[in-house]
């Protein structure tokens, strides 16, 4: 732990202390997360991803097996603080679904699922700097991770890149200015 990290933790600790939240909150951020929970919730994660990027005339997140990518990212490419946020977010999301619709997220209609996710998106701070600061102190926001990993997993998958987007494996030439219509998909890679 370097000096900067220590400082952040002191700031983080003071922030939660001042705001009247107990030591409990501090602990929930830094505890060792139970990552096997993600495997248990693989189906849920797949359904959430599919709600974010549904199958339309092109494949959706589930067909592209985005849930495997999301779990891999949370397990290996995410800091401990953010891992805890992600797991807590999943639990909150399930709780919110039950509370508002009396059923599991998986059993909700598309409309209900979308309203649940929109609720969690709105919990994100709209101010860029507050979001950045919170991210520094408390780790990444649950919904931000969820959406970001879903999109990345989809757009870098074979189905997502080649069917959902335009994938140009070997361009050969560069055409600097082309005319497009509104059906044009964006390039999968740059």
């Amino acid at each position: 732990m370097n000096r900067r990290q220590v400082l952040y933790r002191i700031v983080a600790f003071s922030a939660v202390a001042i705001s009247g939240i107990s030591f409990w909150k501090y602990w929930t951020i830094y505890k060792t997360p139970d990552l096997s929970y993600l495997d248990l919730k693989k189906n849920l994660i797949a359904e959430i991803a599919e709600t974010i990027i549904p199958a339309t005339e092109t494949p959706g997140a589930k067909m592209a097996k985005v849930e495997d990518f999301i779990i891999k990212m949370v397990k290996e490419c995410t800091t401990i603080k953010s891992q805890n946020n992600f797991i807590k977010g999943l639990i909150d999301l399930e709780g919110y679904a039950k509370q508002n619709f009396d059923v599991d997220f998986i059993s909700c209609s598309v409309k209900e699922r979308e309203s649940i996710l929109t609720h969690f998106e709105r919990l994100e701070d709209s101010n860029f700097w507050i979001r950045k600061l919170k991210q520094k102190i408390l780790g990444d926001n649950f919904f931000y991770m969820l959406k970001s990993y879903t999109v990345t997993g989809y757009c870098t998958s074979e189905l997502g890149a080649t069917k959902g987007l335009s994938y140009d494996y070997l361009p050969s030439t560069f055409e600097a200015c082309t005319i497009i219509d509104d059906k044009q998909k964006s390039w999968a890679t740059k």
Binding site: T51, I52, I53, P54, T56, T58, G60, F69, K72, M73, E76, C77, T78, T79, V110, E114, L117, T118, E121, K147, S148, V151, T152, G153, C155, T156, S157, E158, A161, G164, L165, Y167, D168, Y169, L170, P171, S172, T173, F174, E175, A176, C177, T178, I179, I180, D181, D182, Q184, K185, S186, W187, A188, T189, K190
Partner: protein, 563 residues
């Protein structure tokens, strides 16, 4: 090409390092008939055969080109610049530690080909505006050469490596021998015409890059994949591996020894010459000696300097050729972490096809002639690119979920331009490289200690870059204009240079005008460490030209019996 592991051997020439300048030294010396040994501290990398990721798709990578937390923690410098697709060409911080007295991102490529595999490929000539800068504003010692001394060598190098670019007839950014230029896209053309209309002393041109716009020297053309740092199976850009090393090998005069860490250059007090080098095998830790008549040191700026510093003798107690006490000092790196970006609402029915492996250049316009004078010395250029936002940007910008979100996510977003200022860094004596007195690496060599900060002149420039960049975007009708200054530490531009500078006076410089150590006439240094000032141009082309020039001189001196 021959690979050896004999314990003792004599050559006409030894070249330490096989990167962009080592490759050139090898080619020139071999073609002039010298039996040449190239010593490379890293592993061998053969053109095409050793580019394992070159043809892979995004989904072929386990982490889809994201880095794990473990990689970022263990290799913080490698971790921010590379991923699964090109990590094999970046040196591990963990395995090759150094001391940062102040934060300095030292990016290395320990392998045959060095960083020529992963370089930015930008090729710009220096001019007399740069060569005369030190003496005119008094910031440092004068360069011992002028543009006329090197212009023919720029021609020579460009004709061999293949550089695409557009002639602009700027006296302070001389045109070269160009292949057809790459093309600007519609937003870049729009910005170019706005700048032309609004700014008397500025222009925007396509980058000049060592990517081949047509077949050249049995390589290329560039396939516009923009996957250069994985190694190019088409030979679409210049690297030692694709170009100079094969050329050197074709002469039959080249021997390469990978895994050879040079410990020191051996000095003979009686002869007053270097007689060879002492090498540690990276894997076995065995020591070897190799002899030669001349030695070219091309290990990259900081490693070259550390080899010279570690080459101690009764004559040179503070490092070989260090009579001036300048060796290790005057470390420079361009700053490139401030700039501006913006979005444009127009051109909605236009796009592009293919992934052009470069962006645009706005050549330096500050402090030139009677043009735009400002409160800092020297200047900067802008390097940037225009594109339509893709899913990576859209995922953070588009709210909502579901079919509508998916539709917006997968369609081209607004046009954007990002541009950063690449700024000159003055040579400061206290920005330096030294050897640790106490700490050693696993080969028993002293750890390298780097102390570097940008100072007032650079910081003033960074401010100006932000304002000027934002203004140009504003004038061109961009919206959501952001200025940024990432405050990246030195080294981040990977243009480290200046620690064994050239000069006319042995009292204040390490090398003479032929890149020859003032004090040891059969040792030449032609990588970035030779630079007397940094200018603001990407420097590799200049290093290559200086290398070819020094090889020519060295061989003629050998023939005349002077070395």
């Amino acid at each position: 090409m021959i690979y050896i592991d004999e314990k003792s051997n004599s050559y006409d020439a030894i070249v330490i390092g096989s990167g962009i300048t080592g490759g050139w030294a090898a080619k020139e010396l071999c073609e002039k008939g010298l039996k040449t040994l190239v010593l490379e501290r890293g592993r061998d990398v053969r053109h095409i055969k050793d580019y394992p990721t070159a043809n892979l798709n995004p989904w072929d990578f386990e982490y889809r080109q994201n880095n794990t937390i473990k990689e970022i923690q263990e290799n913080p410098i490698r971790g921010v610049r590379s991923d699964e697709s090109d990590r094999m060409f970046y040196t591990s911080d963990k395995d090759h530690p150094y001391i940062q007295s102040k934060p300095f991102s030292w990016v290395r490529g320990y392998q045959v080909g060095g960083k020529s595999l992963i370089w930015g490929r930008q090729c710009y000539r220096l001019s007399d505006l740069d060569f005369e800068a030190n003496v005119k504003d008094g910031a440092s010692i004068d360069w011992p050469i002028r543009y006329k001394d090197i212009s023919g060598w720029y021609d020579y190098v460009e004709r061999f490596i293949g550089v695409s670019g557009k002639h602009e007839s700027l006296p302070y950014l001389p045109d070269g021998c160009f292949l057809p230029p790459m093309e600007l896209n519609c937003i870049e053309k729009h910005l170019a015409s706005s700048i032309k209309k609004n700014e008397e002393h500025r222009l925007l041109t396509i980058a000049r890059v060592a990517n081949l716009t047509r077949g050249w020297d049995n390589r290329g053309p560039c396939q516009n994949r923009n996957l250069c740092t994985r190694g190019c199976p088409y030979g679409g850009y210049f690297s030692s591996n694709s170009s100079t090393i094969p050329a050197a090998a074709a002469t039959g005069n080249l021997t390469i020894r990978p895994f050879s860490i040079v410990k020191e250059i051996i000095y003979d007090e009686k002869l007053q010459r270097a007689t060879g080098v002492r090498v540690i095998d990276m894997n076995t830790l065995e020591e070897f000696e190799f002899k030669s008549r001349i030695i070219f040191v091309n290990a990259s700026t900081i490693d070259t300097t550390s080899i010279l510093l570690n080459s101690k003798s009764a004559r040179f107690p503070n490092g070989m050729g260090n009579d001036s006490e300048q060796l290790g000092h005057n470390l420079m790196d361009h700053h490139s972490s401030s700039g501006a970006s913006g979005l444009h609402e127009g051109f909605k029915d236009q796009y592009y096809k293919g992934r052009r492996p470069c962006g645009f250049l706005i050549p330096r316009f500050r402090n030139i002639g009677k043009g735009e004078q400002v409160d800092f010395l020297r200047g900067y250029n802008f390097q940037g690119r225009g594109e339509r936002e893709g899913w990576k940007e859209r995922k953070d910008d588009v709210t909502g979920v579901g079919a509508e979100f998916k539709d917006k996510l997968t369609k081209p977003g607004p046009w954007s331009v990002w541009m950063g200022g690449w700024g000159e860094c003055l040579p400061y004596y206290d920005n330096k490289v030294s050897l640790s007195n106490s700490k050693k690496d696993k080969w028993g060599l002293p750890l390298i200690e780097i102390e570097f900060t940008f100072k007032e002149n650079e910081h003033l420039m960074m401010k100006d870059i932000q304002n000027t960049g934002a203004n140009m975007l504003e004038e061109a009708g961009f919206k959501n204009i952001n200025t940024f200054s990432y405050n990246s530490p030195g080294g981040s531009t990977v243009h480290e240079m200046g620690t064994a500078r050239m000069g006319s006076d042995p009292k204040t410089s390490v090398l003479n005008k032929h890149n020859q150590l003032h004090a040891v006439i059969n040792v030449f240094v032609t990588d970035g460490s030779c630079m007397t000032s940094s200018a603001c141009q990407n420097p590799s082309l200049t290093y290559m030209a200086l290398t070819a020039r020094a090889c020519d001189y060295a061989v003629s001196e050998m023939k005349n019996g002077n070395i």
